[in-house]
């Protein structure tokens, strides 16, 4: 892993077309500005991790059940 030190308003450029700016540093929080081409997907890592975990739970937890009966009971 490459580790760089940056100050407020300083930038990092990745691959020539992705630009990350340190906008604000307050206590233990850092606000970042990211400029990237539209095809680059940018997400908070914990959200991606949560989706993976949720998928794993969803794929393996269900029993073989007539979901329709349950749906009717709800009404």
């Amino acid at each position: 892993m490459l580790i760089l030190t940056r100050k407020k308003d300083e930038k990092i450029v990745i691959d020539g077309n992705i630009e990350i700016t340190v906008i604000e540093i307050r206590g233990d929080q850092v606000r970042l500005g990211i400029k990237a081409p539209k095809h680059v997907s940018i997400h908070r890592k914990e959200i991606l991790d949560a989706i993976e975990a949720e998928n794993k739970q969803a794929a393996t937890s269900q029993v073989k059940v007539a979901l329709g009966d349950l749906w009717k009971k709800r009404l």
Partner: protein
């Protein structure tokens, strides 16, 4: 051409190859699973259907049209998502959300944050990630949890 798909829930299914939906990027958590089949058992599952992995008998997701659970559900697809599933027109797309069951069935939740988009004619799919705080990872299907009524009124 048809092929046999082994599943732990539905036994061995004979499936036309054209019926296979390809997920070029897999599904988060299962990047190796790129082929799925859509299983709709009709009446017995009500509005729910299944997305069964072709290459892993154990893995099947319960899916549902999100508007069944949240009538005002709306998504905006990113350009890259549209390109990834070769979508030419919005009318070609079907949107589903994945159902998660923890313990009792009545506590089932849907993942509104990461819907599954399928290009129906081209049979290509992708699970996308939305950045919308109104669409949580676990939204109750049956409205038994207090969070269901959050933001109403």
């Amino acid at each position: 051409m048809s092929l046999k798909v082994n599943t732990i829930r539905f036994g061995t299914l004979e499936v036309c190859e054209e019926k296979i939906i390809s997920f070029p990027y897999g599904i988060p958590g299962f990047p190796q699973l790129t082929r799925f089949i859509y299983i709709d058992r009709g009446e017995q599952d009500g509005p729910f259907a299944w997305l069964q992995a072709v290459d892993d008998p154990d893995i099947a997701f319960i899916i549902v049209n999100p508007t069944i659970v949240k009538p005002d559900y709306q998504i905006v697809l990113a350009e890259q998502d549209i390109a990834d599933i070769d979508l030419a027109d919005a009318s070609e797309a079907e949107v589903f959300v994945i159902v998660s069951i923890r313990g009792e069935l009545k506590h089932a939740t849907v993942n509104l944050c990461a819907p599954v988009i399928i290009n129906v004619p081209k049979r290509k799919g992708k699970q996308i990630v939305l950045d919308n705080p109104d669409y949580p990872l676990r939204y109750p299907v049956f409205g038994s949890e207090p969070s269901r009524t959050e933001g109403v009124g």
